[in-house]
């Protein structure tokens, strides 16, 4: 059965509104919810990153137990640009470990300080110059500046503006006489398998509200009522314009923070004027916020996600083609 009608051709577009090294905000326009949600889900669950996956405990005399520290190590975000070049350990059949594994070492030596000492991600020794914990400053490690390597990835990912004031991720605290010596292997994985491989803290989209004020009805309100109406929304949604004595929708960007809480609608009912405003979500505009853990640059995450989506589409198309061919052959017979 060939499709009778061509689906309506759409031309989705992305408008980037804000981009920092932690966060990207963009608007996905001219498409529908399914596409937006697919993108969101892929960002969370299917963009590959690196995370510590295997830990060999050689010595652990700290107060935390081995598996707890191993779990904490796994959750440390690692700079994952190399992930695209690497293979998933369960996909790869070859012998070259360097394609799947990246090695780390965490050896604090016996703690000699009288004070309690934090072991942080800065104490991890990285053997691959491109893979390091986020905000890695080996000079801040317990052992001091000895053996500090120049990390290309570090330099590339971070601008000169952020200094060493961002502390490393605390792994465990040691007191005098305690020691940790572990060897870790980071591997490529996706967020669906374990949360440690999620590249994002969160990725969400919001619907753009479409607010229309029934000006006729609004005109029937007194000034106090108008003020009260403006106040009723917990987010700054409306503004009372002193000059025109009218209620206007505040700047459209502010309107995006509208939480669909319906407080102003309730207020309108309370004032005896239902239908004073009409708020509905637009169906083809999605305002995305993607917050990176630091493993990948936010824009990279989105691009990678789109690539993953594309690959999925190709796989689906391939399957469909095969199906179509088979059907054609059947018809031909």
């Amino acid at each position: 059965m060939a499709p009778t009608t061509e689906p309506k051709q759409r031309s989705p577009s992305i408008v980037v509104q804000e981009l920092t090294h932690e966060k990207i905000r963009f608007a996905l326009l001219h498409t529908d919810t399914s596409v937006a949600n697919a993108l969101r889900r892929v960002i969370i669950a299917e963009v590959p990153t690196l995370a510590i996956d295997l830990v060999d405990v050689i010595e652990n005399t700290s107060c935390l137990c081995d598996e707890f520290i191993a779990h904490r190590l796994g959750l440390i975000p690692l700079l994952s640009e190399k992930a695209v070049e690497m293979e998933f350990p369960y996909d790869y059949a070859g012998d070259d470990e360097s394609v799947t594994d990246v090695h780390f070492e965490l050896n604090t030596g016996i703690c000699a300080s009288a004070e309690t000492v934090d072991v942080t991600s800065n104490d991890l020794v990285c053997y691959d110059p491109r893979v390091a914990p986020v905000n890695y400053h080996p000079g801040e490690s317990i052992k001091g500046k000895g053996g500090a390597m120049e990390f290309e990835a570090q330099a590339a990912a971070r601008g000169p503006d952020d200094g060493p004031d961002i502390p490393g991720v605390v792994i465990v605290k040691l007191r005098r006489g305690q020691q940790i010596n572990m060897r870790c292997v980071a591997r490529k994985g996706v967020g669906r398998d374990h949360a440690k491989w999620q590249p994002v803290a969160t990725a969400t989209y919001r619907f753009e509200p479409e607010i229309t004020i029934n000006e006729e009805l609004m005109a029937t309100l007194t000034e106090e009522e108008k003020m009260a109406f403006v106040e009723s929304s917990p987010t700054a949604l409306f503004r009372y314009d002193e000059a025109t004595r009218r209620v206007v929708v505040d700047a459209p960007d502010q309107a995006r923070s509208y939480g669909y809480d319906g407080e102003c609608l309730k207020k309108a009912e309370e004032l005896g004027k239902p239908g004073l405003v009409d708020i509905r979500a637009k169906e083809d505009a999605f305002h995305f916020t993607v917050e990176s853990t630091g493993a990948l640059r936010p824009e990279e995450i989105v691009v990678n996600a789109l690539k993953v989506l594309e690959r999925k589409m190709e796989v689906t198309r391939g399957e469909l083609d095969i199906l179509e061919r088979e059907q054609d052959e059947q018809v031909a017979m």
């Binding site: 919810t33 399914s34 937006a36 949600n37 697919a38 969101r40 889900r41 969370i44 669950a45 405990v57 652990n60 137990c65 081995d66 598996e67 707890f68 779990h71 959750l75 967020g191 669906r192 374990h194 949360a195 440690k196 999620q198 969160t202 990725a203 969400t204 989209y205 919001r206 619907f207 917990p234 987010t235 923070s257 509208y258 939480g259 669909y260 809480d261 319906g262 407080e263 979500a281 916020t289 917050e291």
Partner: protein, 1198 residues
């Protein structure tokens, strides 16, 4: 003196609050060692031994104890230990599995003859268990740093004993209040007072020289006995108690009953009166009649007194000495009296030791007996009503120290008797060589016999098992269940053990539920919320946070009495104490008693003044009377009968429950007790007029949460919840995994749970900080969405975010310790004899222990022991089905009893217990749920505005029927607290407190939410993670503190495909441990039958059970007869059947029936194969053994 800078030293508020939790236990044990033991010794009767065949006083030896004392725990000197510090600390006892005990020494004294020389010898009685943190414990005044150095918790509070390495504590028990006459009407009530009795003895005046022995049921003590009685529990200063009851007989006479050695004795009342003092009949009549209230009562009383006296006169008893010698005759045998004691002496002993033992003088006893009789008459005539023996008013607490004191009193007196017997035996054995003045000889006898008793072992047995082995039963109504394990499952459970108070094991099996009722009398003393569900409901209660038990050492008793008398006489009370009751006291006067002593009388008009004066003296600075004085004024009811017997009853004695309330007039805090509370008007913070406009309040509650226990007051907004939910929470808090302790590395507890990353709740009550629960938190703040999502949250299931779990939500660990013990000298040692032969290399170390941190698979080697004699190595394997990690290995040498030493290896294993499907969680509002799905994060709904995804999704149906509004409040308040970055005060009854700025939580936190740009009601628009569309309604989402309960699937799942079968029946075994199955019983079978699922039944009950294929002879129908023919040469008939000699058992001689022959029919044909349950064959065999044959008819085909 060194002043510690520690934050947890004596006097700091947190420490005081924590110490107050165990103060009842610790203070009472301190009383026991400081004063109680000495008091026991002081009042213990000496024993005398008369050399056989002599009667002279000079050949009599008298023995007694003096000066018992207890030291601090020290190492027993055995010449083997090399420790420099002789002190033993609790940690060592825990790790070594030994008992924390200290030597107890006593002076044994004896003298020969009347005025002979007194010999002393100090000897070590025993090693007695020591309560941790008591004055005899090394940690009593240790600072936090010292405690931590000693391997204890920084906030160790003690209150428990360590027995064989286990921490056990003595549970508080409720018993009848001392020195207060209670009126009983119902025969059922008697049971509660005297349930340990098996025999009753009646002194029928008709048969004066013999004891009438009669066995009687509880409800009938003889045809004369009516349900009316009064009873008083008397306690002597050494805490020995003896209950005296006065029974009213149908004829109008009365009997005085007491219990001696679990047997009950009844004395005619007249006999007791006359035995107490020389009093004329007229005097007695006047005294009794004067105090009986009500119209016509005078005549009633005088008639009955005449009857009482007449009864005794018919026995010919007129004088005191006659009465006493009559008693002596009756009791000589029963008391095992010495031959030289006169009957009068024995009679006096009965009066002294059994009738009102708290009173020293006969005149006091007489006065109290008169009061008891007056109360009895008032009860019989209906002038006053009976008392409820289940009411807390009439209760006091059996404290650990007092229990030990009673225990030691009996043990020590038994010891003396044993010594006496030993000496007597020695006298009889070698009468010629025995010289009473031979000091060394006597001493060796005494030391030897006391050494054999081993008091310490008996005390250890008592504390370690809770079983009381006693001849007298100590006057208690139970013989077991005195001690419980103070388990550290989590901190609040641990604390609650010390606050628990039990009604008594006897009531647990009582079928009536009246004792379990929550009575208003227990207000403020017992928590109405914190009692378990099920069988112990209402019997196992918990003290409120502010309630404590008064413990007095009785040292300044004389001064205190004098002070009270001074105040009483200054306000017009007529003091008559020490004298016989004046006959002139008219009945308008109200009797005044103090600790069960008739002190005097007062006018009813003076009552208000007397009470007010006493109460202000209680709180004055310094207090003029003991602050623990209980002032019970029971007024005369005008124009009404019924109610309690009027009087002013004062108590200063120990063991009463007390709690602080505020005096309205002075504003001072006064401690009140449970009996006086019933007759006081105490204002509740939100109680307004209390239902009666005439009520004049004299006191008010000091705190709105005064009615709650420690745990119940930790439930946030419990005043918003339906009450049973708060009770469930009290139970669930005690099953929660948390951080039970800090010293994991020093604790060999058999089972410990640990939540890996617990948090402080955002919504906390004041009590939470008061008791430093933050140091031992037990839960996690979680984002909760109330939403029906996908059906996986139906029926109290909850969806947990997989991402949250993977990031550490409720991750937990289970610690289990296994101990292997080897007796030194048995030839067994830990180690490897030959590493290669056992292929343990790499798994176990050379000393037979596993490496710390190594992973132990189920069934793999855990430890190995080498037997040096046989050279064999025995490998201990890991049990269970879970992978474990070795957390700790400790090897310690300990000394067992009698010089035997053993080496113990404690292996602590760690099991990972991260949440999986089927694990149980609960909020703090009795809302428990089971994890039903670890939901992928991208598919979870998220909040449209902030992108927040919930950790847990629960179903809205959890709320309407359970009405846990507190949880909804908590959700909203915690959310606003999280936004503000502050913890929220979630104490209950905040509305009742005098805060001017109080606003309801919904309004208060709604405003905060609104301020932060959130919806006022706490709900938010959410987007479905699966479809990407927003939900049509807003979802209630907020933060709730969630507890992870210890019930986990990993400990409970049971699965079997194939496994062990019972060897007798061939059916699968039961039990999870052994890999057995779950019984498929009749009801399950019925269900399948009803479905017509025949094949399934066949599968379950036959194929998967004891399916068995056997041969049956279709000729005779036997399933036993067909068998392989044994062909043994010369067995006769065998050859006739064609089996040639020499064929072996397993050789088939007939292809068709596989060589099977029916031994009954002697045929090889018509033998069929059938499928049977094996038990059927077993049944057939069993029946065959009884000569019963089972035949089976077989039809082929169809």
């Amino acid at each position: 003196m060194h002043v510690s800078q520690d934050d947890f030293i004596r006097g700091s508020p947190e420490r005081d609050a924590l110490r107050s939790i165990v103060s009842n236990h610790v203070a009472s044990f301190n009383y026991f060692v400081e004063h109680g033991l000495a008091e026991v010794i002081k009042r213990m009767a000496s024993v005398s031994v008369q050399a056989p065949g002599t009667s002279a006083q000079s050949s009599r030896i008298r023995l007694w104890f003096s000066g018992v004392s207890m030291k601090t725990p020290v190492r027993e000197r055995d010449g083997l230990s090399l420790a420099r510090d002789p002190r033993v600390f609790p940690r060592e006892c825990r790790e070594a599995g030994s008992t924390y005990k200290a030597p107890m020494t006593a002076n044994i004294c004896w003298s020969v003859g009347e005025a002979g020389e007194v010999y002393h010898h100090e000897l070590q009685l025993c090693q007695f268990p020591v309560m941790v943190s008591s004055t005899r414990c090394h940690l009593a005044s240790a600072s936090r740093a010292e405690l931590i150095n000693r391997g204890e918790e920084g906030r160790e509070i003690g209150g428990y004993f360590i027995l064989n390495g286990n921490e056990r504590m003595i549970r508080l028990l409720i018993q009848q209040r001392r020195h207060y006459i209670i009126r009983i009407h119902d025969s059922v009530c008697w049971i509660s007072l005297i349930n340990e009795i098996t025999f009753y003895f009646y002194f029928f005046f008709e048969c004066p020289c013999s004891l009438g022995l009669k066995r009687a049921a509880f409800t009938s003590r003889g045809y004369l006995y009516t349900p009316f009685a009064t009873a008083i529990r008397c306690v002597s200063p050494d805490e020995h108690s003896c209950t005296v009851r006065l029974h009213y007989l149908t004829g109008g006479s009365a009997r005085l009953a007491f219990i001696h050695r679990r047997q009950e004795y009844f004395l005619p009342l007249g006999l007791v009166f006359i035995a107490l003092c020389e009093v004329s009949d007229k005097e007695l009549q006047d005294v009794v009649c004067s105090g009986v209230p009500g119209p016509g009562a005078h005549v009633f009383a005088s008639e009955r007194v005449a009857m009482v006296l007449e009864e005794i006169h018919t026995l010919g008893i007129q004088t005191r000495s006659q009465a006493l010698s009559y008693l002596g005759i009756c009791f000589r045998e029963r008391l095992n009296a010495d031959s030289w004691e006169t009957n009068i002496d024995i009679g006096k002993r009965i009066i002294r030791d059994h009738v009102f033992i708290h009173l020293a003088t006969c005149s006091d006893k007489f006065n109290l007996l008169v009061l008891m009789l007056q109360k009895l008459y008032a009860l019989v005539t209906g002038q006053c009503s009976q008392d409820n023996p289940d009411s807390l008013m009439h209760h006091e607490v059996l404290l650990p120290g007092i229990l030990l004191q009673m225990f030691m009193r009996e043990q020590l007196s038994e010891a003396l008797i044993k010594v006496k017997d030993t000496i007597l035996r020695e006298f009889e054995g070698q009468p010629q060589t025995m010289d009473l003045n031979d000091r060394e000889r006597i001493l060796s006898l005494v030391v030897g016999s006391i050494g054999r008793i081993d008091l310490g072992r008996m005390a250890e047995y008592f504390l370690a098992t809770g079983n009381l082995v006693s001849k007298t039963g100590l006057g208690l109504s139970q013989t077991s269940g005195f001690t419980i394990v103070a388990d550290k499952l989590n901190y609040v459970r641990y604390l609650s053990h010390f606050r628990s108070i039990h009604r008594g094991a006897y009531y647990a099996e009582l079928r009536t539920t009246t004792v379990r009722k929550l009575l208003p009398d227990s207000w403020g003393f017992l928590c109405p919320v914190h009692t378990p569900d099920g069988s112990p409901c209402g019997l196992l209660n918990h003290l409120t946070a502010s309630c404590f038990v008064h413990i007095s050492d009785g040292q300044n008793r004389g001064l205190e009495m004098a002070a009270i008398f001074r105040i009483l006489s200054s306000v017009g009370v007529l003091i008559t104490t020490g004298r016989l009751r004046s006959t002139s006291a008219p009945h308008v006067l109200i009797p005044v008693t103090l600790d069960g002593v008739m002190v005097g009388f007062m006018r009813a008009a003076d009552s208000a003044k007397v009470v007010a004066t006493l109460r202000s003296a209680k709180v004055s600075e310094p207090p003029k009377v003991p602050p623990s004085l209980e002032v019970v004024y029971i007024p005369t009811l005008v124009n009404r009968s019924g109610g309690a017997f009027p009087g002013l009853y004062l108590f200063t004695s120990s063991s009463r429950l007390m709690r602080p309330v505020r005096q309205l007039a002075s504003g001072f805090i006064e401690n009140i007790s449970s009996l006086e509370q019933a007759f006081m008007s105490i204002k509740c913070p939100d109680g307004s007029s209390g239902g009666s406009e005439e009520l004049v309040f004299t006191h008010e509650e000091s705190n709105a949460k005064a009615m709650l226990s420690v745990i119940a007051s930790c439930t946030p907004w419990s005043d918003y919840n339906q009450s049973p939910r708060n009770m469930y929470q009290c139970q669930m808090a005690k099953q929660t995994m948390g951080l039970p302790l800090h010293a994991f590395c020093y604790r060999p507890d058999t089972k410990l749970y640990r939540l890996q990353s617990p948090q402080r709740p955002i919504a906390v009550t004041e009590s939470y900080d008061e008791y430093s629960i933050d140091e031992y938190p037990l839960g996690t703040n979680a984002v909760i969405a109330v939403l029906a999502y996908t059906g996986y949250d139906m029926e109290d299931a909850m969806i947990v975010s997989k991402g949250s779990m993977e990031r550490g939500f409720s991750h937990a660990t289970l610690y289990k310790t296994e101990t292997l013990s080897l007796v030194t000298g048995s030839g067994k040692v830990f180690g490897h004899f030959d590493l290669r032969s056992h292929s343990l290399e790499g798994t176990l170390n050379i000393d037979g222990s596993p490496s710390v941190g190594s992973i132990i698979e189920p069934g793999s080697a855990l430890a190995s022991v080498v037997d040096r004699i046989t050279g064999q190595t025995h490998v201990h394997k890991a049990k269970g089905t879970d992978q474990a990690i070795v957390d700790r290995v400790s090897v310690i040498q300990t000394s067992l009893s009698r010089g035997i030493r053993s080496t113990k290896m404690a292996l602590s294993l760690r099991y990972n217990r991260n949440p999986i499907i089927g694990d149980k969680f609960s909020s703090r509002h009795g809302q428990k749920g089971v994890l039903s799905f670890l939901w992928p994060e991208e598919s979870l709904p998220y909040v449209e505005r902030t992108g927040i995804r919930p950790d847990i999704i629960i179903n809205p149906h959890a709320f309407p029927s359970r009405m846990t509004i507190g949880m909804l409040v908590e959700s909203m308040a915690s959310k606003s607290g999280a936004l503000d970055g502050a913890c929220i005060n979630a104490s209950p009854f905040k509305a009742a407190q005098k805060e001017k700025t109080y606003s309801p939580p919904a309004a208060e936190y709604g405003e905060t939410l609104r301020k932060h740009g959130y919806d006022y009601c706490g709900s938010e628009t959410m987007v479905n993670g699966l479809t990407g569309e927003a939900f049509g309604v807003d979802i209630y989402i907020g933060l709730v503190y969630y507890q992870r309960l210890r019930h986990m699937v990993s400990d409970k799942f049971q699965v079997r495909s194939v496994g062990p079968n019972n060897s007798l029946t061939q059916q699968p075994t039961k039990g999870r441990k052994s890999g057995g199955g779950i019984r498929f019983g009749e009801m399950e079978r019925d269900a399948l039958l009803a479905h017509g699922a025949a094949y399934l039944i066949h599968d379950r009950l036959h194929a998967c059970s004891d399916r068995f294929v056997t041969h049956v002879c279709s000729n005779c129908g036997s399933i036993l007869a067909p068998s392989l023919k044994l062909s043994v040469a010369g067995m006769g008939s065998g050859s006739a059947l064609g089996c040639s000699a020499g064929k072996t058992l397993h050789t088939s001689c007939d292809g068709e029936s596989e060589g099977i022959t029916c031994r009954v029919c002697n045929r090889r044909t018509k033998i069929d194969k059938v499928e049977l349950p094996f038990v059927f064959k077993y049944l057939a065999s069993e029946l065959a053994a009884m000569n019963i044959r089972i035949g089976i008819g077989i039809q082929c085909g169809a």
